[in-house]
Each structure stands twice: as C-alpha cells, then as structure tokens.
C-alpha cells in the first residue's frame, strides 16, 4: 500500500439558456377625506354694542375653548366647530365628517432573456497507485469529473438566478410606477365618492352640531351680557346686590339712582 494521490479536474460548460420571469408590484395608498355643511347666522341686528364689545374683550383676554382663527374665533364641538366673526358679527356653524380611504394598484410584467456565458468548476478525486480498494486513477478521475459537473449545475442555477434578479431590479421601478399610478387613480375615485357621502352625512348632522355650537356660543354671549350690564351699573354708581354665575343662569341685581 502507498500514499493516496489527488487528481484535480476542471469542468467547463458553455451556458446558453433562455429564461422567463414575472415581476409584480402592488402599491397601497391611503387618503383622508372630509365633507362639510355650513350655516351662517347674523348677530349684528340684535345684539347690543356694549355686549359685543364685552365679548370681544373677553376673547382677546382668552376664553377656554375659544381659539383665534383666520376668520375670527373658533370653538370646536363634537362633529364640527363654530366660528365667531366679530367684524362681520356672524357665527358660522360647520359640521364635519371625516374618513380614511385606501386603494390598491398592482402591475405585472413578463421578462425574458438569454443567459450566455462560460462557466468552470473544479473538483478533486483520490486514487492509489496500486488501486487499493478499487480506487484506481480512472475511478478517481471519473468521480472528480462527476463532482465538477454537479458543481457546474449549481453554478449555472446561480448565474440564472443572478440574471433574473438583475432583470427584475431594472424593471421594478417602472412596474412599481405603473402600479402606483393605478393606485392613485383608484384612490382619487374612491375619495370623490366618499367625499360626496361625507358631505351628505355632514348635512344630516348639521342640526345636532348646530345645537352644540350654539350652546358654546351662548356661554360666551351670556358672559358678554353680564360684563356689559355690570359695566353700566358700575359707571352709574349702582349698588350690586347680586352677581351670581352658577348652574345654567347668570343672575344680576343692582340698585341705582337716576
């Protein structure tokens, strides 16, 4: 018996393989839509100037719940808000309904190509000069050749995978863009339909929102009345015997000489 010998075999193959591959991309978009209904109420012809001035003074000093807005002062209520415009002497009641909308777009593109390259793989075989245990040079070379061929098969699959992945990567941007455009078109349509429905919902809720909005405004108005009357009383040297702001009402009583 002698030492084992090693034989190295290199297998080479001309790869010439056609392939087909599908690329699919799906895009989901979400939007927020709202519908509104409005009612405008004039205050000018009815509310006294001192009361309006008192309300303006209160608002400029800060009243909880009332925030300065572009059109005047805004108070949020359940289902909407009210805006008091001191300049126009109006209150505008706005009922709002909101909802989120989603839409999906998808696109598939079929890709194809031809993988054309040369691939090589090596493998080692073992033998004994005296053919111990049947491991002759021919047997060792044949085993090495078979191993090399198997490695070539794997290498060919890897090259094919690489080629399709590259192709997918190149095509993905365009496929996604088409899917996105479809999603945007569907979203726009869904938003338009939903917006119309929400506007109808807002119109249906306007009465309830109006009640809440007027209650909020009446709180402010009542304090305006209170401040205007008290200012008059104090300016005329009156003795104020009651100035009660508890529960649902504001009560004032005073005595004056005129």
């Amino acid at each position: 018996m002698c030492n084992p010998r090693r034989i190295r075999v290199t297998a080479t193959r001309q790869v010439n393989q056609a392939w087909e591959h599908e690329v699919t991309r799906a895009v989901q978009l979400q939007g927020l839509v709202s519908g509104q209904a409005r009612a405008l109420q004039q205050l000018g012809p009815t509310v006294g100037v001192p009361a309006l001035q008192a309300m303006q003074q209160l608002l400029s000093e800060g009243v909880p719940g009332w925030e300065r807005s572009a059109a005047g002062y805004r108070h949020d209520v359940e289902g909407g808000h009210v805006v008091y415009d001191p300049a126009a002497q109006t209150i505008e009641i706005v009922a709002e309904c909101e909802a989120s909308v989603t839409a999906t777009g998808a696109h598939t593109e079929a890709l194809s190509g031809l993988l054309r390259t040369e691939a090589s793989q090596t493998a080692d075989g073992q033998f004994y000069d005296d053919g111990w245990r049947g491991l002759t040079r021919e047997v060792g070379e044949k085993k090495a050749q078979e191993d090399a061929e198997r490695k070539l098969d794997k290498e060919q699959q890897r090259l094919l995978r690489e080629a399709t992945e590259d192709a997918e990567q190149q095509a993905a941007g365009n496929v996604e863009a088409i899917a996105r455009q479809e999603a945007e078109e569907r979203l726009a349509q869904a938003e338009a339909e939903r917006r119309e429905q929400l506007a109808a919902d807002a119109r249906a809720s306007l009465r309830q929102v109006g009640m809440r909005a007027r209650q909020a405004f009446h709180q402010l108005l009542a304090r305006g009345y209170q401040d205007a009357i008290l200012e008059y009383a104090q300016a005329h040297g009156a003795i104020i015997t009651c100035n009660d702001d508890q529960g649902d009402t504001i009560d004032i009583e005073f005595r004056m000489s005129a």
Binding site: R38, P50, V94, A222, Y225, I229, D248, T249, M256
Partner: protein
C-alpha cells in the same frame, strides 16, 4: 328716580329669562313724565345687550303679551328678538 334692576340669562339657550327695571320709592314726577323717564331708563339699560329692546310695562301685576299688537303708551321691560339665520352649505 330709584331703580332696582333684575336680570337673568340662560347660559345654554342664550335667552334672557328676566329683565325687570322696577321703580322704587315715592314718585316725584307726574305720572306721564314718570312713565316717560322710567321707559327711557329701561331702554337705556336694555340697549346694553340688545340694539332695539322692547320695553313693556307691567299692569296689574302682569306684563302684556309681547307678540300682541303694540299700544301707543311706551311700556317697561325688555325682550330678546329671534336671531336671523341662513344655511349656506
């Protein structure tokens, strides 16, 4: 003229529930002049909260119906007018 003023407003509805301007003590002027002055002062106080307050006089312990046809005599007392509203949306 000594006056006692009582006022009550409902904070939820915004309605003025009470707005009395009562004269107290002896009447120094003749009745017509007294009534004129009383109404004038009541209107002045009413204008603190309303542009054009209606002044009604209590007679025999009762205020007349504010929706009834107006009489020639000017009365004491105030009443809020209905607010104007239009829907725009």
């Amino acid at each position: 003229m000594e006056l006692n003023v009582r006022f009550r407003v409902n904070k939820t509805t915004g309605q003025v529930e009470l707005f009395d301007v009562d004269h107290e003590g002896p009447q120094a002027l003749d009745e017509a002049e007294h009534n004129r002055r009383h109404a004038q002062l009541a209107a002045e106080i009413g204008r603190q909260i309303e542009r054009d307050p209606r002044v009604l006089e209590m007679r025999e312990g009762v205020f007349p119906d504010p929706e009834a046809e107006p009489e020639e005599t000017v009365d004491t007392g105030t009443q809020a007018r209905p607010e104007q509203e239009k829907q725009v949306g």
